[in-house]
C-alpha cells in the first residue's frame, strides 16, 4: 500500500496546513518526547543488562506513534495503552520520576510495584493501567467510549496496541462493539505493514493508514479520527506503519528538519536537552533505588476494596515470618 498518510514531506507549507494548530511549544514538546523515550529505552536496556530489572520492551521506533497519537487527545479523554507507550505516558503528563518508580518497583510507584517494568498507570492522565494479555484493552476502550456516549460526556478514547493484538478475539469484538454504538474511540495499531483496512470497514470502523515514523502524520490522523468520532461518525482504526528494520532514530530524524526550519530546535538544544534528560533519568533511577520497594504488607492491599479475613490472616502470617528472620 503506497497510500500511507504522510505530513513530513518536503513541502513546508503543506506541513503547516496540516498541523497549524500546533504551537512552537507543542512541536518542541513532541520532539522532546522522542528524546526522552530514547533516553529511557537506553537506560532501561542498561538496567536490564545489569540485572536490576528483569524485563523491558523498548518503545523504540514506535515512540512517534505513541506520543503523536496521544498528543491528539485532550484532558478528559481516556487512553488504553500497551507496553510500548512511554511516549503516550509522557504526553499525558507522566514524569520521568513516576516512570522509573514504576520501572524499578519503588515505593513511589502508583501501582505499588505490582507490574512488570513498562506496565504503567497514570490516573491523572486517564492513562489506564497497562494490561498483560494482548488486546483486552481494545474492548475496554470500546466500553469506556460507549459509557461516555451514554453519559453525554464530550470526550473520546484512544486505544494503542501492536499487530499481534489483532489476532485476538478482543480486537474483532472491540471493533464491532465500537462501531455498533458509533462510540467515540480511536484505535491505533502499530504494525510493520498495513493489512486491516477491509476488516475495519467490514466491522463498520473507518480505516486510515499512516507512516508511523512521521510523528505529525500520526498526530494529524489521530486528531481527525478523534474529531470524527466526537461528531458521531464512528470509530477509526489507524494503522501506523513502522517497517521492520526502521532505525531507532528515524522518527526523530524525520521530525527534526521541520523544527529546525521553524527555528525551535538545533544541535545545541538537542545536546543540552539530551544531557538534562540523562541527568534527570539518572536521578530518577537513583531516587527509585534509594526509595526501595513498597512494604511487603502492601501486597495485601487493593485486591478487594477492603481486606477480607483471609488477607488479614495472611498478612499477619507473613509479618510473623519476617519478624522471625
Amino acid at each position: 500500500m503506497g497510500e500511507l498518510l504522510t505530513v513530513l514531506a518536503d513541502d513546508v507549507e503543506a506541513i503547516e496546513r496540516n498541523v497549524g494548530d500546533l504551537s512552537d511549544a507543542d512541536l518542541t514538546a513532541l520532539y522532546e518526547s522522542l528524546v526522552v523515550t530514547r533516553v529511557v529505552d537506553e537506560r532501561c536496556a542498561r538496567l536490564q543488562q545489569s540485572g536490576r530489572i528483569g524485563f523491558w520492551i523498548p518503545s523504540g521506533t514506535s515512540a512517534a506513534v505513541s506520543a503523536g497519537a496521544a498528543r491528539a487527545f485532550e484532558d478528559g479523554d481516556w487512553l488504553y495503552p500497551s507496553y510500548r507507550d512511554v511516549g503516550a505516558f509522557l504526553v499525558r503528563g507522566g514524569s520521568i520520576e513516576q516512570l522509573f518508580a514504576q520501572v524499578l518497583s519503588s515505593r513511589d510507584d502508583l501501582a505499588r510495584g505490582r507490574q512488570l517494568p513498562g506496565h504503567a498507570t497514570l490516573p491523572a492522565g486517564r492513562f489506564v493501567s497497562v494490561s498483560g494479555p494482548l488486546a483486552t484493552q481494545i474492548q475496554h476502550a470500546a466500553g469506556t467510549a460507549l459509557a461516555m456516549k451514554l453519559r453525554h460526556d464530550p470526550h473520546a478514547v484512544l486505544a494503542l496496541f501492536g499487530a499481534a493484538a489483532t489476532d485476538q478475539a478482543s480486537f474483532q469484538i472491540g471493533l464491532s462493539t465500537a462501531a455498533r454504538h458509533a462510540a467515540p474511540v480511536v484505535f491505533v495499531c502499530r504494525c510493520p505493514s498495513t493489512s486491516l483496512a477491509s476488516l475495519a470497514m467490514a466491522h463498520g470502523v473507518n480505516p486510515v493508514s499512516v507512516d508511523g515514523t512521521d510523528m505529525l502524520a500520526v498526530y494529524t490522523a489521530a486528531r481527525s479520527a478523534r474529531e470524527a468520532a466526537l461528531a458521531g461518525a464512528g470509530p477509526t482504526l489507524i494503522e501506523a506503519v513502522v517497517p521492520a528494520g526502521t532505525a531507532a532514530l528515524e522518527p526523530a530524524v524525520r521530525l527534526r528538519p521541520y523544527l529546525e526550519h521553524r527555528g525551535v530546535w538545533d544541535a545545541g538544544r538537542e545536546d543540552e536537552f539530551s544531557r538534562r534528560c540523562e541527568e534527570r533519568v539518572a536521578a530518577a533511577v537513583a531516587a527509585a533505588e534509594s526509595a526501595g520497594p513498597p512494604a511487603a504488607d502492601t501486597m495485601f492491599d487493593d485486591v478487594w476494596a477492603q481486606r477480607p479475613w483471609m488477607l488479614q490472616e495472611q498478612s499477619r502470617k507473613l509479618r510473623r515470618l519476617k519478624d522471625e528472620s
Binding site: 481516556w78 507490574q115 489506564v128 494479555p133 483486552t136 466500553g143 451514554l150 487493593d302 485486591v303 476494596a305
Partner: protein, 323 residues
Amino acid sequence: MPDLNMAQAINRTLSAEMRRDDSIVLLGEDVGALGGLFGTTEGLLDEFGELRVIDAPTGEGGVIGTAVGMALYGLRPVTELQFADFVWPGFEHIVSEMARIRYRSGGQYACPLVLRLPYGGGVGGGMYQSQSPEAYFCHTPGLVVAAPSDPTDAAGMLRAALRGDDPVVFLEPKSLYQDCRASVDDDHIVPLGEARVRRQGTDVSVFAYGSTVPVALAAADAAAGSGIQTDVVDLRTLLPLDIATVLSSIAKTGRAVIVAESPTYCGFGAELSATLSERALLHLEAPVERVAGFDVPFPHVHEDDYLPSKRRVVAAIERVANF
C-alpha cells in the same frame, strides 16, 4: 413490602437501585425489549430507556469486556447472561482484567461490575444450561462470589452488590426463580460476606448455598424426624466466606455435610471441607461429607441421579451423625 418470587425480587431491586443511582446500566442479550430470558429485566427498558438498558449481541465476551470498560469509566454495569454455562468467552476479561485492575493499578481504578449468571440444574437444561461454575470464580482473588437462595436474600444481596466497590459474580439459581414468594423491602441490604443460619441444631452442620439450600432444609426436616438436629448454614457469599459463622457452627456440632451441585473434585466444597478440618480439627467428631455433583459433565437424562437429592443429603447426615 410486596411478596415476590426471586425473578421479581431481582427485577424490583434493579429498578429501585437504578432510580437511586443513575450510574447503573444494564447490558446483555435480550435484557431490553424481551425483559430477559427469565423476566428479571422486564419493564426496565421502558422505565430507564435505551441509554441505560442495552441489548447486546449474544457474544458473552463482548458483553463482559465492554462492561469492564464501562466500569473503569465509572459506571456500574450489570450484565446478564442467558446461562452461566456460556460465560467462558468472557473469562479472560473476568480473571485477567475485572478481578485485578484494582490491584494492578495500585487501587487507582476499580471495576464495580455485577455479573449476573443464571446457574444450576433442576430445569431439564442438559449439559450447557445447568452447570454450577462457582469454583472457577472462587479461586480468583479480587472477585466477590455470591449465590442467594430466596427472594429476600436475592434482593438484599443484589443491592449490596450494586452499592459495593468490588466486582461481583452474582449466581442466580434458576431453578428457584419461581420457587417461592417472600417479602422484598427496597431498603433491605444483605452485606456480602455474611452467611445466614437457616435452622438451628446441635448435631450436624449442613452447609449449602443457592440452589441447594432448599434441598438442605428438606433434608434437615427429614433428619429431624429421625432425631438428628441440624444446623443449616446458607453460606450466601462464597468469596469471601463468612468464616466466623462457619466455625461457630462446626464448633457446636463437630459434624458437617456440604451440599453443592457442581462436580465434587476441586469444587467449592473442597475449600469448605479443608477449612473445617484445618481450623476445627479438634472439634471434628466425624469426617466431613460432601454431597455434590459427580465428577462428570452435567448429564441430561440422569440429571436427577446426578443432583444432590434430599435422599443423598439425609443419608450423609445420618452417616455423619452416627459415625
